[in-house]
């Protein structure tokens, strides 16, 4: 599949701004280094000179639409990767923004790079990254350029990409892909197959690193509450710090439960975790369980679908039987 270039996006955005279809554009803005792109709003053709499209455009813009569709009477242009479109639909299902206020352009995605995987090879001190057929990295410590195939440094969520298909857009740039089989539940299964003691140790270790920065929640396109229960001083769940290992678990279990059936598995939570806690494995556990017991369901695949936890059949599995066939 032909990679689309930044220029195509800029050209498109500029023309839509120009002809008044939209008055703002959500896109990735270049940073200090070549990998630290910031989601930004571009309002003029001049702004767009800083718009970037490369292998580090991981940020999912869907959630930004909630605020940005309310900012003016005009439409906002958003670029959506396939996985972003699922979040987009899920937010529509939950009436979180007005579809009429958005001009959505679907863009194909071959997966995004994980800077930590690059740094694991090159070390710190990156001076430049060029994204093309290869990802070429230079550092201040060496005159040599290190070249990577994207597949070697791809983010976990992209390695286990569930869909190259856009489930929502007004316009599609490039070719449409398909929903794909992925090994995204392999790691969940691996954990399931551990003994209870091993599972406990695994999660205790992972969650003990949590600093409750709330990045996972605040980036999550499913976490769009006006005020999160964990921030609400009138709610008994209100809590600011992982004071004990219980609190660590409480936060993450409840958060996973609140987004269960609504989480599209976009993987933003794990991407942003400063402590690299594999939070997506909690969400995927719910997705896997719901698929197993209540039938395949992909949040965001369709607008208006009924999530498994707000649905039922009279023949559902008993809570005591979900463990069947397991230790």
């Amino acid at each position: 599949m032909q990679k689309i270039t930044r220029d195509v996006l800029v050209e498109k955005a500029a023309s839509l701004l120009e002809n008044g279809t939209v008055d703002r554009v959500l896109g990735w803005k270049k940073g200090e280094f070549d990998y630290d792109l910031t989601p930004a709003v571009f309002t003029s053709a001049d702004d767009l000179k800083d718009l970037v499209w490369n292998d580090f455009c991981g940020a999912n813009f869907s959630k930004y639409l909630i605020a940005n569709t309310k900012k003016s009477a005009s439409k906002v242009l958003v670029f959506l990767k396939p996985c972003d479109t699922y979040s987009f639909n899920q937010l529509l299902t939950e009436h979180r923004f007005d579809r009429e206020k958005v001009y959505a352009i679907g863009i194909p995605c071959e997966g995004m790079a994980d800077i930590s995987k690059i740094k694991a090879v090159t070390g710190d001190g990156i001076s430049s990254i060029e994204c093309g057929e290869k990802i070429n990295v230079t550092t201040i410590y060496s005159d040599d350029t290190v070249s990577f195939d994207l597949s070697d440094v791809m983010a976990e969520r992209c390695v286990n990409c569930k869909s190259k298909k856009h489930v929502a857009y007004d316009e599609l740039i490039g070719e449409e892909g398909d929903v794909i089989e992925s090994g995204r539940f392999d790691e969940v299964e691996r954990i399931e197959n551990m003994t209870a003691d091993e599972r406990y140790a695994f999660w205790q270790n992972e969650l003990s690193r949590c600093i409750r920065c709330n990045a996972c929640r605040d980036v999550c396109p499913a976490c769009t509450c006006e005020k999160c229960v964990f921030d609400n001083p009138n709610h008994s769940l209100e809590n600011k710090a992982p004071a004990t290992s219980f609190e660590e678990k409480m936060f993450h279990i409840i958060r996973a439960f609140h987004v269960a059936g609504r989480c599209t598995d976009c993987g933003e939570c794990s991407r942003v975790c400063p402590q690299n806690i594999p939070l997506h494995l909690l969400n995927r556990k719910f997705i896997k369980d719901m698929n197993t017991h209540y039938g395949e369901y992909q949040a965001g695949a369709e607008v208006g679908s009924r999530a498994p936890l707000v649905n039922y059949t009279t023949e559902d599995v008993e809570p005591g039987d979900v463990f069947e066939g397991r230790e």
């Binding site: 009436h95 509450c225 006006e226 709610h235 008994s236 769940l237 609140h258």
Partner: protein
């Protein structure tokens, strides 16, 4: 901060026997918010209630905790007490220290410890209670009676008499139910038809009653006072309004070999039929399974002979939607299937019959015109064996029978035995029984007459096996009193089959959200004090759908249900349950999760303006709960990730406070 009073009840020795009530009231005195704590022998008594009222006045209490029996017993009592003393009735919490403490624990120390903890949990909850005021909803002044047997008929007549419109929905083409199939009734021996059919006519003629026969309820929505019911009128291919019931069509119908279910398939009827002469409504119905015209378009005789032009082969099922204020369930019973009782050879011999079949055999309008003849050879039987408790009181054989006593069999068997001996003195009649149960007015006298005056052979013991041999039925049985095995060559064996709720009851219960017991009998709101009400408000129970009953009991319950309905329908407005969900619009993000799980459609969304930071206005979609429709289950509160949806009276922080208090 609340000012809470704690009142610990002894319940005589029921609580005080296992719980140190003084220790409980002392311990609870120190709980946050508690300013008064006392114990008394019977809190629910007038004196006990006065104690509460006085304490409320004297200590300016804002909330009370009563440590007593189950809230299901006396919560309402103490709420009234509180209200009478001027505090909101929902500022009352009950700590159940009887059913869930003193009665289940034997040790005083254990019981007391637990009672204190339960008391603490109740105090913790009351601390967070807020006064609640019930909402109001209007009442649709029309009742629906589901089932047109004697129960439904009586209920409908009584409600109609009070001036309220009533609709009866009956699945069969005629009302009348089981009673219409009976011959005589015990213990007076008056003829069932003679007392039933005038009532059926009354129903037909009552201006307040509409009959939807050959119809069924397919959907129920809404709530007490405001039910929306969908009734399916099955196509009977005869225009009811035009048919005169003359019977010409029935006479001419060429399809004459249709098993006649009214006579329990012991004879045949035609494809177009009127179930029996006194049917109400007296209109014909075409059985689409057997009508050639409907099956392959070849016939049309009935249409030709119908002078009124009532036949309509193109008739479709019709759906009627109607609003009701109250619904009475009167779906009745059926004898259980005898298929699993091979020992009685029911499926091997035509001469092994059920008691209901016996009724038809002795009924003047039955297949033998009232002559007692064996189904196999139409000969007069000389030896008849009646077997009682077939499938009743059957604790060891739950897969084929019922654990409960069917209640009516002892009496109707005595009736059958007596009538047989009366009409055919040459017939030997044996009755095998486990016990003979005759607790009713004139019942035991009736049974004794059967034994003493009519010489019926009552034998305590069960029949082990019935084997057809030639034209005889070999009956092997045990006589427990004389401790011997009996072998009787019988001509006819009559099985007193257990009775069970009609199969339509279970799906109906689901539609009505009315609860059922494991036997599919409808559960009453209280087994003793509210026997004709279902726990679901606005749904009432009449007749055998609630449990086995004879006719007088059915009729009295039917009238009782009617009076309950009337006292509901006379109200212009209902005050609802104030423990309903409510949405904190500032927290709601409009996601619709709550709306999706609400079983009552009580949640709707509105776009609302909100003042936002820096003097901006935002329009947000937020959930609103209709308190008249909400029944307070709380499903929405868990579906809501924002914590915006909460349940009054069972709020998140209240339940959490209870959890905390219990886990201290």
């Amino acid at each position: 901060m609340q000012r809470i009073g704690v009142f610990v009840c002894w319940c005589g020795s029921n609580i005080a026997g296992t719980v140190d009530v003084q220790a409980v009231s002392d311990a609870l005195k120190n709980e946050p918010g508690v300013v008064f704590s006392a114990n008394y022998q019977y809190m629910c008594s007038q004196a006990g209630q006065n104690l509460i009222k006085e304490a409320i006045a004297e200590h300016r209490l804002t909330g009370i905790v009563v440590c007593s029996c189950s809230p299901r017993m006396h919560e309402a009592t103490f709420r009234k007490t509180a209200a009478a003393a001027g505090i909101n009735p929902y500022m009352v919490e009950i700590a159940n220290i009887r059913e869930q403490c003193s009665w289940v624990h034997k040790d005083m120390l254990t019981g007391t410890e637990k009672a204190i903890i339960l008391g603490k949990a109740a105090v913790a909850k009351v601390n967070l209670n807020t006064p609640l005021t019930p909402g109001e909803s209007p009442v649709t002044k029309r009742a629906l009676v589901i089932g047109g047997g004697i129960a439904g008929i009586q209920t409908a007549l009584d409600i109609a008499d009070a001036g309220f419109p009533v609709d009866i929905v009956e699945t069969k083409p005629t009302i009348g139910g089981k009673m219409a199939q009976l011959d005589k009734t015990f213990p007076t021996l008056d003829c069932a038809a003679c007392i039933l059919t005038p009532k059926m006519v009354d129903v037909a003629q009552n201006e307040n009653i509409r009959i939807f026969s050959y119809s069924e309820v397919t959907a129920v929505k809404g709530f007490v006072g405001n039910f929306d019911v969908t009734i399916k009128k099955k196509a009977r291919y005869v225009n009811e309004d035009v048919c005169t019931g003359c019977g010409a069509c029935v006479e001419k119908c060429p399809m004459k070999k249709v098993p006649n279910e009214f006579n329990l398939n012991m004879d045949n009827r035609t494809a177009i039929y009127i179930p029996f002469a006194q049917a109400v409504p007296k209109v014909a119905t075409i059985d689409p399974m057997h009508c050639n015209m409907l099956k392959n378009g070849k016939c049309g005789v009935c249409s030709k002979v119908c002078a009124a032009g009532a036949i309509d082969y193109k008739q479709q099922d019709q759906y009627i939607e109607e609003k009701y204020g109250a619904i009475v369930v009167a779906t009745g019973f059926n004898p259980i299937s005898m298929d699993k009782f091979d020992e009685y050879a029911y499926n091997q011999s035509k001469d092994v019959i059920t008691s209901l079949e016996f009724e038809r055999l002795t009924n003047a309008a039955g297949p033998t015109a009232g002559k007692l003849l064996r189904p196999s050879d139409h000969k007069h039987p000389h030896t008849i064996v009646f077997v009682q408790c077939v499938g009743s009181r059957c604790s060891a054989c739950a897969e084929k029978g019922k654990e409960y006593c069917s209640k009516i069999c002892c009496m109707y068997t005595a009736k059958h035995a007596m009538l047989t001996r009366d009409k055919y003195p040459d017939t030997e009649v044996y009755v095998f029984y486990i016990d003979v149960r005759t607790p009713g007015k004139n019942f035991d006298e009736f049974y004794r007459r059967a034994v003493e005056e009519y010489g019926v052979h009552y034998i305590k013991g069960m029949v082990g096996k019935v084997s057809p041999e030639g034209d005889k039925l070999k009956v092997q049985a045990s006589d427990l009193l004389n401790n011997k095995q009996l072998h009787i060559d019988a001509d006819l064996v009559v099985l007193a089959a257990a009775i069970e709720p009609d199969k339509s009851a279970r799906p109906l219960a689901t539609m009505l959200t009315a609860s059922m017991d494991t036997n599919d009998f409808f559960t009453e709101a209280h087994p003793k004090l509210r026997p004709v009400e279902s726990p679901t408000a606005g749904v009432f129970l009449s007749g055998a759908c609630q449990g086995p009953k004879d006719i007088p009991e059915t009729v009295s319950q039917a009238s009782a249900a009617a009076s309950k309905v009337i006292s509901l329908l006379v109200k212009d407005k209902l005050t609802g349950n104030p423990c309903v969900a409510s949405s904190d619009e500032l927290m709601c993000n409009g996601c619709s999760s709550c709306e999706r799980v609400c079983p009552y459609g009580a949640i709707t969304y509105v776009d609302k303006e909100f003042r936002m930071p820096n003097r901006t206005i935002a329009i947000r979609r937020v959930a609103q709960v209709n308190p008249a429709v909400c029944q307070g289950c709380g499903a929405c509160t868990v579906a809501c990730p924002s914590g915006a949806m909460d349940l009054k009276g069972f709020a998140n922080n209240q339940i959490v406070a209870e959890v905390d208090a219990i886990c201290k």
